[in-house]
Amino acid sequence: MEKRVVFDGKLLPYALLLPQLIITLVFFYWPAAQAVRQSFLIEDAFGTSSQFVWFENYAHLFTNPDYYRSMLTTAVFSILVTVFSLSLSLLLAVQADKQIKAAGAYKTFLMWPYAVAPAVAGVLWLFMFQPSLGLVSQAIRSLGFDWNPTLNGNHALSLVVMAATWKQISYNFLFFLAGLQSIPKSVIEAAAIDGARPARRFWTIIFPLLSPTTFFLLVVNIVYVFFDTFGIIDSVTGGGPAQATTTLVYKVFSDGRLGGDLGGSAAQSVVLMILVIGMTAIQFRYIERKVQY
C-alpha cells in the first residue's frame, strides 16, 4: 500500500527521519551488535583483554543445567499465566458482553490494573502473601498449610504466577470484550432459532468466531510473560529461592550483574533475540491478514 500523492523534497525527508534513526542506531543496533560480538568473546578477570572463542560461550550455556532449569521455569510460568489469564478474562468478558447496559461500567472496573506497574503489582501480592504478616498467608497457615514463598520454590513460583495473571486479566478482558462485541448479533440469533442452547451457542458459534482474538492474545501473552514480568519477579522473589523463579530474561540480568560473565550473558541475549524474532514473525503473520504493510 502506497500513497498515490506525495510531496517533492530532497533533504527534507532525511531530516525528518534523522532523530528516529540516530536513536535507533545508537541505542538499538549498536548494542545488539555488541551483544552478538561479545557472545563470541571471553574477557579475562580484569576486563582488560578479551579473546575470540567462537561458540564456546554458547557451548557453555547449553551444557549448563541452570540454563535448562531456567528454560523450564520460563515455560511453566508462560503456560500457567497464559492459561489462567486467558480463561479468567474470557469468562468475565462473556458475562460482561451479555449485560448490554452495564458492560461499560464493568469494563471501567476491570481495566485499570493494566495501568499498574508490574513491579508495583508484585509488591501488592508480596504484601498479601508475606509469610509472617501477609493477610492471605495467615489465612493459609491457619488452615494448617505451611506457606512460605521465601523458602519454597513452588510457592514462590505460584505467587509470581498469581501477580502476573492479575496484571494481565484487564488487557485480555478488553480484547475479548471487543472481539465478542464485534460478532454480529444476527449470527447468534440465527443459532438460537436453529435450536442451539446458550452453552452450545458459545462453543459452536462464539468461540470459533473469537479464535483470531484468542490466537492474537496467546502470542501477546507469551511475549508479556517473557519480558514484561521482569518487574514482578524482581520485586517479589528476586529470582529465588534457589533460582526457582529465574526466567530466561531474569537470568540475563542476574548473570550479567552478579556474575560479571559478560560473554555468557551476551550469548543468552542472542538466544533471546532469536526467540523474539520467532515470536514477532508469528505475530506478524497474524497481523498481515488484518493490515497490509
Binding site: V5, L16, Q20, I23, V120, F127, L133, F230, S235
Partner: protein, 282 residues
C-alpha cells in the same frame, strides 16, 4: 432475545462482581495498610478497614520518605517518574510522527531501508540488550540523568507504524487540495495532518505515558543516585529482605501513589486508552 428470567439471569452479574472484587482486593489491602501504624501491620493483626494514620503516613511518604532504608521523599521520586513518563511519551510521539510523515508522504532513495531499520527494532526489546545498551549510555556520560533515562526508550517502531497506518487513511485529495491551496509539505503537516491526527496522538500519549511511568528495568540500571530514583524503583528499594526493617505502611502508601497517576489516566481517558491499546497492537 427472549430468554426466560430465572435465578440464573443474575449469575453473570455475580461472576462479574466477584471478578471485580478479586481484582480490586490487592489494591484495597495496600490502601488499608497505608493507613495503619507499623506495629499493627507487623504483628499480622491488621484489620480490613482503613486505620487512623492516613494523613500522617502519606505526609511522611511524600515529604520525608522511609526512616530506615532509602530515606528519599517519595514526592521527589514522583517528580522523576513524571519527567520520565512525559519525556518518553512526548518524545516518542514527536520523533515517530515526523518519521512516519517522511516515509508516507515522500519518495526518496533508501525509503524502504529506513522503514525496515525502524521496523526491526520491534524485535530488539531492551531486555535482550541490557548490558551493551547500559555501556553505551555510560560511555556517553548519561548515567543518572534524565536524558539517559529517557532517550534510549523513545525510539518506537509501534508508534511509527501507528502513524503510518493512520496517514494511509487520510484521503489523497486533501494533499491535492492543499497543494492547489498553495501549502508546502511542512504547511500541510502543520495545518492539516497534525490536527487530523489529534485523536491518534492523544490515544498514543495515554498508552506511552503509562509505559513510561511504569518503566522498571531501565531506570534500575541507569540510576544509582537516590535522588534520580523513580517511584517504581523506590518501592522496590523500600522492601528489604530482612522483613523487620521494611516499613510497610510507607511502602504501601508509595505503592498507592505509584498507581494513582496511571490508573487515573486510564479511567479518565477511557475511550482514548482503549483506542490506543487496540491500535498500537495492530
Amino acid at each position: 432475545m427472549v430468554e426466560r428470567k430465572t435465578i440464573f439471569s443474575y449469575l453473570p452479574h455475580l461472576i462479574l462482581l466477584i471478578g471485580i472484587a478479586v481484582v480490586a482486593f490487592p489494591v484495597y489491602v495496600a490502601f488499608v495498610a497505608s493507613t495503619w501504624d507499623p506495629a499493627t501491620i507487623s504483628n499480622g493483626q491488621m484489620p480490613l478497614r482503613p486505620g487512623p494514620h492516613f494523613l500522617e503516613n502519606y505526609y511522611q511518604t511524600i515529604f520525608v520518605g522511609t526512616s530506615r532504608t532509602t530515606r528519599e521523599p517519595v514526592g521527589g521520586m514522583m517528580f522523576n517518574s513524571l519527567v520520565m513518563a512525559l519525556t518518553i511519551a512526548i518524545g516518542k510521539i514527536a520523533i515517530s510522527i515526523i518519521s512516519a510523515f517522511a516515509i508516507v508522504y515522500f519518495r526518496f532513495p533508501f525509503r524502504m531501508t529506513a522503514f525496515w531499520v525502524i521496523f526491526v527494532t520491534l524485535m530488539l526489546p531492551v531486555e535482550v540488550r541490557i548490558y551493551p545498551t547500559y555501556k553505551i549510555v555510560s560511555d556517553l556520560g548519561l548515567l543518572d540523568s534524565y536524558a539517559g533515562l529517557t532517550i534510549p526508550l523513545i525510539a518506537s517502531a509501534t508508534a511509527t507504524l501507528l502513524f503510518r497506518q493512520f496517514f494511509m487513511t487520510v484521503p489523497d485529495e486533501l494533499v491535492e487540495a492543499s497543494k492547489i491551496d498553495g501549502a508546502g509539505p511542512m504547511q500541510f503537516f502543520r495545518d492539516t495532518l497534525l490536527p487530523l491526527s489529534i485523536t491518534s496522538i492523544a490515544a498514543l500519549f495515554v498508552i506511552q505515558f503509562i509505559y513510561g511511568w511504569n518503566q522498571y528495568l531501565w531506570p534500575l540500571l541507569i540510576t544509582t543516585r537516590d535522588s534520580m530514583q523513580t517511584i517504581v524503583i523506590g518501592i522496590k528499594k523500600m522492601i528489604v529482605t530482612q522483613d523487620a526493617l521494611t516499613e510497610w505502611q510507607i511502602a504501601m502508601a508509595t505503592a498507592v501513589l505509584a498507581m494513582l497517576p496511571p490508573v487515573l489516566v486510564v479511567i479518565l481517558m477511557q475511550r482514548l486508552f482503549v483506542k490506543g491499546l487496540v491500535e498500537t497492537e495492530k
